[in-house]
Point group: none
Chain length 225, copies 2
């Protein structure tokens, strides 16, 4: 089992390396966010232990970036703060587990083992379809390198379509899940909003992620069109 430990505090990093090695892990160390990200990309690790407070690039940024790049290596976050916000943020951002400093070494090893057992999570925290990426927590959408700004309604619509990517989703289904008021709305809200969405995520890129299936509904292509 090959681990990467990203931790700027040198003594703690050393201690972890030594301890984990004695548990039988192969352990590499990075001391800042940027080099940690770089190592994570190329290193083919079985798991990563990642401090949140890091120079150059925070642990959050590192996980988020990895997940954007569809790298689902198990990540265990370490944070000095113990606010609830941190935990939530970390998990939202795509980490798999979380420990607050000061942590017990034994607990760390136990959690790591659990992570490795579980393997990479089958479902990432961000939704991906081809070059379309939607981050529910950050409320952000990107196509390729371009960040796309959506209104709340447009975002919900795209999120639901992406969660059911590949399937045809009916208008009624959308009314029920994206608009609270199922049956209340008589008019063609759904059509209108699909139109808005296409103008933002399809037209500028000359590709169609959202397909109309006449008489049935709409389908988001799993390959992003």
């Amino acid at each position: 089992m090959r681990l990467l430990v990203v931790e700027d505090e040198v003594r703690l990093a050393r201690a972890l390396q030594k301890g984990l090695r004695s548990e039988g892990f192969a352990v590499d160390i990075s001391h800042d966010g940027a080099s940690g990200l770089e190592s994570a990309r190329v290193g083919n690790y079985d798991a990563i232990v990642l401090d949140v407070m890091l120079p150059r690039l925070s642990g959050y940024e590192v996980v988020r970036t990895l997940r954007r790049e569809r790298n689902w290596v198990p990540v265990l976050l370490l944070s000095a703060k113990d606010g609830e916000y941190d935990e939530a943020d970390g998990l939202d951002v795509g980490a798999d587990d979380y420990l607050t400093k000061p942590f017990s070494y034994v607990v760390l090893v136990a959690r790591l083992r659990a992570l490795l057992r579980r393997g990479a999570p089958e479902r990432p925290a961000v939704l991906v379809a081809g070059d379309l990426v939607l981050d529910p927590a950050a409320k952000q959408v990107a196509r390729g390198d371009a960040t796309i700004s959506l209104t709340a309604r447009e975002f919900s619509l795209l999120e639901y379509l992406m969660r059911r990517a590949g399937e045809v989703v009916s208008r009624l289904d959308l009314l029920e899940h994206v608009w609270d008021s199922y049956g209340v709305s008589e008019a063609n809200v759904v059509e209108v909003y699909v139109g808005y969405l296409r103008r933002k995520i399809d037209t500028p890129f000359g590709r169609a992620a959202v397909t109309t299936v006449r008489g049935v509904g709409y389908r988001l292509e799993t390959d992003g069109g």
Copy 2:
């Protein structure tokens, strides 16, 4: 994403509804166990937030009943007690996650997101006949590597034929099952549509998946022709 919140404390329920709506969820409320169960049954929710201490029917009972009815909607339990027994009970009973009151709103949202992420419903199987593949959920058809675009009627026709692959299906049978209106249609709709279908799934590939059985009907070859 459509959520049901079952919580008897009116102010908390309101607050949750407001907050979750601002996150982009569609939120319904029930104030007791019995009506919550009823809503859960018919509401087609993506997830349910369920208080344990409820009038008329406890949260435990609600989950237990749902699971008995083979309803696997993701459920997050909320409890005022914080003994470990509760958690175990809740999870035993079939809940997917658990929070103790007082809980952090941010954590609730993060856990909900995790639940929704996990709750990917697996798609129903596709129909296969030789190199012909039909996906009812995606409303898509492929022959070998080529994706074929069919109209709604053509799709229904092929789907019915594929479900009865190998059998000879009569015109009357098709009128009844593919065209709602059995007997209404006097003309040769079926022939016409079989024609359309062949032009799309047979002619371009130089093979005949649909065979005419004179005086009887049509048969879809199990080996795709």
